[in-house]
Every structure is written in structure tokens, then in C-alpha cells.
């Protein structure tokens, strides 16, 4: 067991160092990077596509790295929406890590001053333990997953700057208890905002994009 713990620490330390180097390089080029966490089907890709529409409309550049255990379904979807997207298929690994991002960045052409969205593997547990070079993490949770997620998956919420609450059109149908969810979020992640989104209509995406722009400015000026 102690070998395993030692090894885990070494893996984390190596990963942290490489993630710091990635972040320094990207930030030096004016690229703002968001690491997106969330369970399977939470609406991470819809979130990206809705923000991308707004960034495109104002002439801003963005690129997306899609992480999946298998398939390139989301990458193909984003490309069909004219979003520059690149796929990492982990073939089993449950989270992205800094070396994977290093590897794919070497094969991408991200313009200076771009936004970079990294959609992590659909998993509310393991991705929370790894940095991949991001400026901020966001966690995407759908009302259909229930009101208890911040209590059950505290790390993903605690490490995120905001929680994007998706599929809000289903609130009544699923009996979503927003007060309980907010209480859990406040307890787990006192600094995290709750930002609602209807990925099907885009409702909420203007506010989310405005908030992301303000964070981006703050981060890149720091």
C-alpha cells in the first residue's frame, strides 16, 4: 500500500509540474484555458457549443480539446458547428492529465489570444484530482442528475470556479430541489457561482459568456 501511495504522490507531482509549464506557456500567449468537469451526459459539449456561438459572433477565437474514453462523437459534433476541436481518446483512462494535453497541443494550432476549452472525461470523481494546465475549472451538472451531487462528489465542486447547472427546462419534470443543491454547493464550494443553462435553447449562455469574459480579463491581466 505505501508503494502505491508513494507512486501516486510522484505521479501527482510530475503532473503538477508539467501542468504549470503548460499554463505558463499558454498564458504567455494570451490563451485562457478552462478545464470542464462533469458526469456522463451532463451537457459539457452543449455548454461549449453555446459559449462558442457567442465567442464566434464577437470574432473571438477558440479551440476545444475533447476527452473521451472512446469515440470522437463530440469532436465531430463541434466541427460540424465550425468549432476547431481535437480529440483525445484515452482508451480506458478515467481522466485527462498534463502529458496528454502537452501531446495534443503539439499537434494543434491555437492562435495567440484564443480561448481554450478542455472537456474532460465524463466522470465527476477522478478528473478533479488532476490539473492539466487550466486557468480555471468549471463543473457541469444537470438537474436530471438530482439535487445531491455537491454532497456526493465534493472535490469536483470544491475545485471549480463555477457550477454550470444544465437542462434547467427539466427542473419540474425531475423534481429538482434547487435549495438543497445550493446549500450543498455553498457548503462544498463557498466561492463557486451557480450559473443556469438550457443547452437546447441557449438560455443562460449570454450571462455565462459575460461572466467568463470577466474572469478571463482578470486572469490574463494578473
Amino acid at each position: 500500500m505505501s508503494i502505491s501511495i508513494e507512486l501516486k504522490r510522484a505521479i501527482y507531482e510530475e503532473n503538477d509540474a508539467r501542468a504549470r509549464a503548460i499554463n505558463e506557456t499558454l498564458r504567455g500567449r494570451g490563451i485562457f484555458t478552462i478545464n470542464i468537469l462533469g458526469g456522463p451526459g451532463a451537457g459539457k459539449t452543449s455548454f461549449i457549443s453555446r459559449v462558442a456561438e457567442r465567442l464566434h459572433a464577437s470574432g473571438e477565437k477558440l479551440a476545444v480539446i475533447e476527452g473521451d474514453v472512446a469515440s470522437d462523437i463530440d469532436t465531430r459534433l463541434l466541427r460540424s458547428l465550425n468549432v476547431e476541436a481535437y480529440q483525445i481518446e484515452t482508451g480506458g483512462d478515467c481522466h485527462l492529465n498534463a502529458p496528454m494535453i502537452e501531446g495534443i497541443l503539439g499537434r494543434m494550432s491555437v492562435a495567440d489570444g484564443s480561448w481554450l476549452f478542455i472537456e474532460n472525461i465524463g466522470n465527476l470523481v477522478c478528473p478533479a484530482e488532476y490539473v492539466v494546465g487550466e486557468d480555471i475549472k468549471l463543473v457541469v451538472a444537470s438537474v436530471a442528475e438530482g439535487s445531491d451531487k455537491p454532497y456526493k462528489y465534493p472535490a469536483a465542486f470544491a475545485k471549480s470556479a463555477a457550477c454550470i447547472l444544465t437542462k434547467i427546462d427539466l427542473k419540474e419534470a425531475v423534481g429538482f430541489d434547487e435549495e438543497f443543491f445550493r446549500k450543498g454547493l455553498a457548503g462544498t464550494a463557498p466561492g463557486a457561482l451557480l450559473l443556469p443553462l438550457n443547452g437546447r435553447t441557449g438560455e443562460g449562455a449570454d450571462e455565462i459568456t459575460a461572466w467568463l469574459r470577466s474572469v478571463r480579463t482578470r486572469v490574463l491581466e494578473a
Copy 2:
């Protein structure tokens, strides 16, 4: 890296051996054990509670082991429904393993001839890699998660005897493409049944329970 792979193999082998021993002991006592996989909020606990109602109604005994990274919300819910439930809080671990099940079985009193439900951590990736002493795995997926899950998380589907498709009342609201889902399931897990469930009303639970009874008989007579 090779140290990590060696270690992983050793962990799997040790886990497999302990899981086999658990399964032999349980099966020898006429206990049928189901390992339930699924993402966060897929409806795993609702599935268990709906089947439990039907087993209780016919005088059958059951016990539940609830796995969560944090909280005992589901255990308290099941106990409020008079289901004998026991909590494993992993404190960060992304899957249950055989030693955890060994540990908690030592503190539980499961009657001979019972059903044993093990609700794994809400995670469609890692739990698929570990056996915990079960006779069968089931995967629970909700229509709200989208139609592409069998393509994106193949291991969880491939290793399961059936897929419980939940929240079927939301099919139209979320635009669930059942044909695409069925195609993915057939490609990934050719032998797996698709069993629909509305956890809020119990629709589908009679059929699921009947199917589980037939599997149980087959397994315990083998």
C-alpha cells in the same frame, strides 16, 4: 511507467482473487449478488428501491451496500423505505473493490438466500475495471444522459448483463434517440438486454424483477 503497469496488474490480480472468494462464500449461502454501475444521478438507488418493493411484497430478503465518495444520503433513503442498507464512503476512491466489500460484509448480517445489491460509485469508467464478488453487473443509464453512452463508455456496458434505461418519461423532452442507443449497445454489448424503467412511477420494475428472478435461479442452480 512500467512500475505503474506492474503494480496495476498486481492490484487487479489480488482484487480478482478476493472477489472470487467473496462470490464463492455468498453463492454457497444462496445469496445472489448484483454489482450496479452507472454515472452520477443515473437512477441507481431508485432502481434498487423499485425492485426492493417487489421483493419485499413477495417476502424475499435483500440487503444493499451503498458506495459513495462522500455522504450517506442513499443509505438513509433506502432505510426510510425499510431496506437494509449499509454505507461505504470511500473518501475519494472512484470505485468499490473486493477488500471494501469483504470489510463491510463482516459488519453486516445478510440472511442466507437473500439478494445482495451493491451500488457502486457514480462513475461509468473505473468501476467497470473491478469485480467485487458479484454474480452479475448491471449498468444503469438515464435517457437524460443522451443516446451516445454505450459508444463513449464501452467497458461498463460490455461487462453488464443488462442495461437499465431510466427516466424514460423524459424521452421526448430530451430528444432521446433510442435507435442510436440500441445500436451502440448491440455493438458494445451484444448479449446485454435493454430494460426500461420509470423510477418515479415504478413502470418497468415488474418486468425487471421478473428477469432478475430468472437470472438468479439460473446462477444459483449452476
